[in-house]
Amino acid sequence: MIRIENLVKRYGELVALDHLNLEIQKGEIFGLLGPNGCGKTTAINCLLALLRYDKGDITIQGQEMRPDNYALKAKIGIVPQEVAVFQELTVVENIDYFCGLYVKDKDLRRQYVEEAIAFVELESHRKMRPKQLSGGLLRRLNIACGVVHKPEIIILDEPTVAVDPQSRNKILENICRLNEEGATIIYTSHYMEEVEQICTRIAILDHGRCIAQGTKEELKNMIKTGETITIEGVGLEEQQLGRLRELPHVFAVDYGENQLVVRCSSAKHNLIRVLGSLQEQDISFGKVYSELPTLNDVFLEITGKELRD
């Protein structure tokens, strides 16, 4: 449905997008994950024909995306990272205004606006101006303005930045609902938990390059880490750490500030083996956590740095 091939975008000496290749299928929730400045928004702006790029091709539904391809633009809804609404208009007026940029029929527009207001649950705030809304409600208004015309493709650029957890959950629920109703979603975020929660396929970006792409399971299978065991309140010496490193399936042991982190490849009973080893050496310990690999582990293993760095 959407194909980005060898996309290169430079800002002077800085290469913002470095031969980026992405293919997004109809009906997906496609996540673009990466740290701030990795090129997610630049890629979106190129996709929307807002930004000039140096090289590459972008096609949507087989058509070249150009600034004057209004037929194609009508099928796309954008929810920008920055809330983009008119401060002088009320909630309902803002939604109606942006709907009117796509939908000319008055009755249909009225119906769409009511549906959008209900969708983001802003019924009781319809007469309010944006500055009277909380951050979470404002984000919901931003979403309503982007999806009111019922686009086939919805691009959400970090829609949950600076949003409280309750509103964030609501927004994520809404995105899933839009997808269930048939929209193809492109979702950019630097919050790996969100991407992991809702996206059916994910591309991880770093320095303008796509470093990995696939479902979350496929991405996790790309790396060695199958389980990360963290043990707090433990005092260890180098010799004792050495014995832990010799355990089967353990490939990394980090220790510092009385906290032990053991990374193991996928295998059964990793936790029991590690705790058993500590018990054998008569080492006491505090809290114990065992985590399955996250996208952060994927990012860490591929790039050597944390996603949040």
């Binding site: 807002l50 600034p67 633009k73 954008i78 983009a84 002088e88 796509y102």
Partner: protein, 377 residues
């Protein structure tokens, strides 16, 4: 298009800062100026003045005639006693007179202090000088009409200030030039509306602009709707201001409504065009753009006589090109040319210049904004 225009209208009218500076401020300023000047021109107290004849040239004699006619007018704005400079200065020192008119090679006014009476005398002197400059213009541009203009002006000298018809058959107020400058300023204050439009039409300036640019409505359509509404709002306010001056304050700004409305029309077009042009500059921030527009508007109005009535005359002699391209001067000049000193050629020149400038500003601004993709956002 109606949809876009309806919301642009709401956005414009709900933006409090714009509403104040573009609309309400003009009415407040007009009212304050009327309170300051209006009462003076309608029911003035007679002021005692002295006339010192230091020269017998044309300008000195013209001043003497004007003052004599003012003294003889029904309103009796001033009394004039001819005396020597020494006697006059003594009287001024003892506050027995309000001011001294020196009819020398270059007429002057001497006052001892600042006050209402001194301001009126100052205006009389400025008006006189302004009309002398006008005569000089006529002499330069249409020498064959200079004698007639001189005769007409001398015949109606007192009327220029107080009562009877001036050259255009209107009943002018000595302070009317200030009100013309306020009209010009109001037209040009449409620039703020223009700047907002330009900002919201560019994908690389603000988030709203970017959201609009990725929609399926063409930029040209949005541009036309937005400019149309900004212009309409500014135009309505300017015409309402003229009506307020003419029918509520009873100021003699003229009765040639078709041409007055045409002036407001092109003046507002010019104002919005300047705003769109400045707003289309992407490398400077909104605060700087607002500063540029405020300075441009006020400086342009200043040069057209908003604060110093004779400045246009001074510029006409020293650097006439400024008067030919300064939008506020063109607007006030067009108003002058249909009220005070009817001159169709001058009126047409002013209107054509304004239209040409507005089209140039709109054209270059849209050319800059039309870019299909941005280098950076």
């Amino acid at each position: 298009m109606l949809h876009l225009m309806k919301y642009r209208g709401r956005i414009t009218l709900r933006e409090k800062t714009t509403v104040f500076w573009s609309f309400i401020f003009a009415f407040i300023l007009t009212t304050l100026m009327y309170m300051a000047f209006g009462g003076i021109s309608t029911t003035p107290d007679t002021m005692e003045t002295a006339l010192v004849m230091e020269d017998q040239g044309a300008e000195a004699m013209a001043l003497k005639s004007v003052l004599t006619m003012l003294e003889d007018s029904e309103e009796k704005l001033i009394t004039v006693e001819e005396m020597t400079r020494g006697e006059a200065e003594k009287k001024l020192e003892k506050e027995k007179i309000s001011g001294i008119f020196i009819a020398g090679e270059k007429p002057e006014l001497l006052v001892a202090e600042n006050g209402l009476e001194q301001s009126v005398l100052q205006v009389i002197m400025e008006q006189f000088q302004s009309r002398m400059n006008f005569l000089s213009d006529v002499g330069r541009e249409k020498p064959e009409n200079q004698a007639a203009a001189m005769v007409s002006m001398m015949k109606n000298a007192s009327a220029v200030y107080v009562e009877e018809g001036a050259l255009g058959g209107e009943k002018p107020d000595p302070f009317i030039q200030y009100f013309f400058a306020v009209i010009a300023m109001t037209c040009l204050f449409g620039c703020y509306l223009g700047m907002d439009i330009a900002t919201q039409l560019q994908g690389n300036v603000g988030a709203v602009g970017a959201r609009r640019m990725v929609s399926s409505t063409s930029k040209m359509k949005m541009f036309l709707c937005d400019v149309g509404i900004a212009f309409a709002v500014d135009f309505v306010v300017s015409v309402l201001l003229m009506c307020y001056m003419r029918f509520v304050l009873k100021l003699e700004i003229g009765n040639d409504w078709p041409r007055m409305i045409l002036i407001a029309f092109v003046g507002c077009l010019m104002g919005v065009a300047i705003g769109v042009w400045v707003g289309s500059m992407t490398r400077i921030g909104e605060g700087v753009k607002t500063g540029i527009l405020t300075l441009t508007g006020l400086f342009s109005s200043f040069l057209s006589g908003l604060m110093i009535s004779d400045i246009k005359g001074v510029l006409e002699q020293s650097c006439p090109i400024i008067n030919r391209i300064n939008p506020a001067s063109l607007i006030t000049d067009a108003l002058y040319s249909i009220t005070m000193f009817p001159d169709d050629a001058r009126f047409i020149r002013d209107i054509v210049t304004l239209v040409a400038l507005a089209l140039a500003f709109f054209g270059t601004a849209f050319y800059k904004m039309r870019r299909v993709r941005y280098d950076s956002i």
